[in-house]
């Protein structure tokens, strides 16, 4: 059989014989990518105004919407804490907002068990906009109208970027389930 078709014992996730998924990769990759997303303040971009989308939070949303059940509902606590260490927000704002976001998605999951990409995008938009507004309200900065006007470009950029991020997460998800471990 292999001489006829060398791909006969393979599928997109790798060889189907004598290989298994790595537990570390399958469960660790979402956490690792989200934490990497939270490290965006270390990108060499010195912004005069908040312009970058909150990558850590977007990745949480994308993973949660793509793979319900992969991130436990309590994941907002550790991931939000990690995000807070670097984001410049007062410590605790990420913990609170990440946790609330994950609980809200659970509730949406109950309402709409069958979802498609457009509903996912709408869900993410309905969560990310309040997130950005609340984050700037809770940032401890003096509140002015200028402040809220400043985040408008960030909101637009974030909404436009979400499909791209969820596409990237889909690719990562395929990589996550690669059969890389040899069974002896």
């Amino acid at each position: 059989m292999e001489q006829l078709n060398p791909q006969s014992r393979r599928d997109p996730y790798g060889s189907r014989i004598n290989r298994r998924e790595s537990v570390l990769l399958a469960y660790g990759l979402p956490w690792a990518t989200i934490m990497l997303g939270s490290l965006t303040p270390w990108l060499p971009v010195i912004a005069p105004a908040p312009v970058m989308p909150p990558f850590g939070f977007l990745l949480v949303l994308a993973w949660r919407l793509l793979r319900p059940g992969l991130l436990p509902p309590w994941a907002g606590l550790p991931l939000g804490l990690f995000d807070d260490l670097f984001s410049g927000q007062p410590l605790g704002s990420g913990v609170l907002l990440f946790s609330i976001a994950l609980i809200v998605i659970e509730l949406i999951d109950i309402r709409f068990p069958w979802r498609n990409f457009w509903l996912d995008w709408l869900t993410a938009s309905c969560i990310v906009v309040p997130y950005l507004v609340l984050a700037s309200l809770l940032s401890g900065a003096a509140l002015t109208l200028v402040q809220l006007g400043v985040i408008a470009p960030q909101v637009v950029l974030t909404l436009v970027l979400f499909p791209l991020i969820s596409r990237m997460v889909a690719v990562l998800d395929r990589f996550r389930l690669m059969r890389v471990r040899r069974i002896d």
Binding site: L39, T40, P41, W42, L43, P44, V45, I46, A47, P48, A49, P50, V51, M52, P54, F55, P68, G69, P72, P73, W74, G76, L77, G80, L85, F86, S87, G88, Q89, P90, L91, G92, S93, G94, V95, L96, F98, S99, I100, L102, I103, E106, D109, I110, P113, W114, R115, N116, A135, S136, S139, G140, A141, A142, T144, V146, Q147, G149, V150, Q154
Partner: protein, 299 residues
């Protein structure tokens, strides 16, 4: 996509409890976050140890990227430059002509300054910088404007020290870690710097507006003497910043002052200098002053 199976625990008691516990912990996490947030809003310095530890651990990533930043920037600037070459050239020629005159004036002022300082017996010259560091990152997705620099306590950096670039003031150190520090940039809405007009003694406060510009608020209200293009420098009031460091240029006149653009745009800054606090005694005295009035009536 198929509905997730994880919530359908069925009659399995253990699975039901597991799902319930998950929700419970999630709700608890949100409450815990709210508690942490309240603490850090009331006392912002509470968790600084945790943050500096984390930024020390992550700083090498930023330092690696920062080296490439100015390189790529000048590359894009070079491309943009071709499109505006002609008009820029004429503009620059004009500017140079004016600048030559100003330079001569400045030399005269400097000479006079040196003479007057000699009369007073003051030590002239800039203070030695504490450290030279790279600006390696900023909180670009948060409403607060913090930067990270690649020098910390091991280099002698302490909280409160001014951070400058050759173009002017950048901010001041807020938290110092072992090898990295967090800098409050001038554009943060909590940042306030006492400034004066470079040409005379019109004094004002420069507050951050968190959109990249500063708001100048005159201390002496009345007729607003500020004109577009006025350059503001630090006045030295408060003892934190050395007087005479360039801060901003007024671009838009408002009722009680002006909106000003930063002279040392952090986005175009690569290497920064951490300077010592100008008058440590004055800063200490100001910091210690709030309890004193309470004790004063008894004295």
């Amino acid at each position: 996509m198929a509905p997730p199976a994880h919530r359908r625990s069925g009659v399995n008691r253990k699975a039901q409890l597991g799902v319930f516990t998950g929700y419970l912990v999630a709700g608890f996490g949100a409450l815990f976050g709210a508690a942490l947030l309240t603490i850090s809003l009331l006392r912002p310095e509470t968790f600084s140890g945790l943050r500096t530890m984390a930024s020390d651990a992550a700083a090498p990533i930023g330092a690696a990227g920062a080296a490439g930043r100015t390189g790529s920037q000048s590359f894009f600037d070079a491309i943009a430059g071709y499109y505006r070459a002609g008009s820029r050239n004429a503009e620059l020629a004009d500017e140079v002509r004016i600048a030559r005159v100003r330079l001569a004036e400045a030399a005269a002022t400097e000479q006079e300054n040196a003479r007057l300082k000699a009369v007073l017996g003051l030590v002239s010259g800039d203070p030695r910088p504490v450290a030279v560091a790279r600006l390696i990152g900023s909180t670009s997705s948060s409403a607060r404007r913090y930067g990270y620099i690649s020098a910390g306590r091991n280099d002698g950096v302490r909280p409160g020290m001014p951070v400058t670039s050759p173009m002017g003031l950048v901010g001041r150190v807020l938290e110092a870690g072992a090898d990295s520090s967090r800098v409050l940039l001038l554009t943060d809405s909590e940042s306030m710097v006492p400034v004066r007009r470079a040409t005379d003694n019109v004094v004002a406060f420069a507050e951050g507006r968190s959109d990249g510009s500063l708001r100048l608020r005159l201390i002496n209200l009345g007729i607003n003497p500020i004109k577009q293009g006025d350059v503001f420098v630090t006045s030295g009031a408060g003892g934190l910043f050395r007087p005479g460091t360039a801060v901003a240029i007024a671009t838009e006149i408002t009722r009680d002052g002006a909106i000003a653009q930063l002279l040392s745009n952090p986005a175009a800054t690569d290497v920064v200098v951490v300077e010592p606090i100008w008058q440590p005694e004055a800063v200490e005295a100001l910091r210690g002053s709030p309890p004193e009035p309470a004790a004063a009536p008894g004295a």
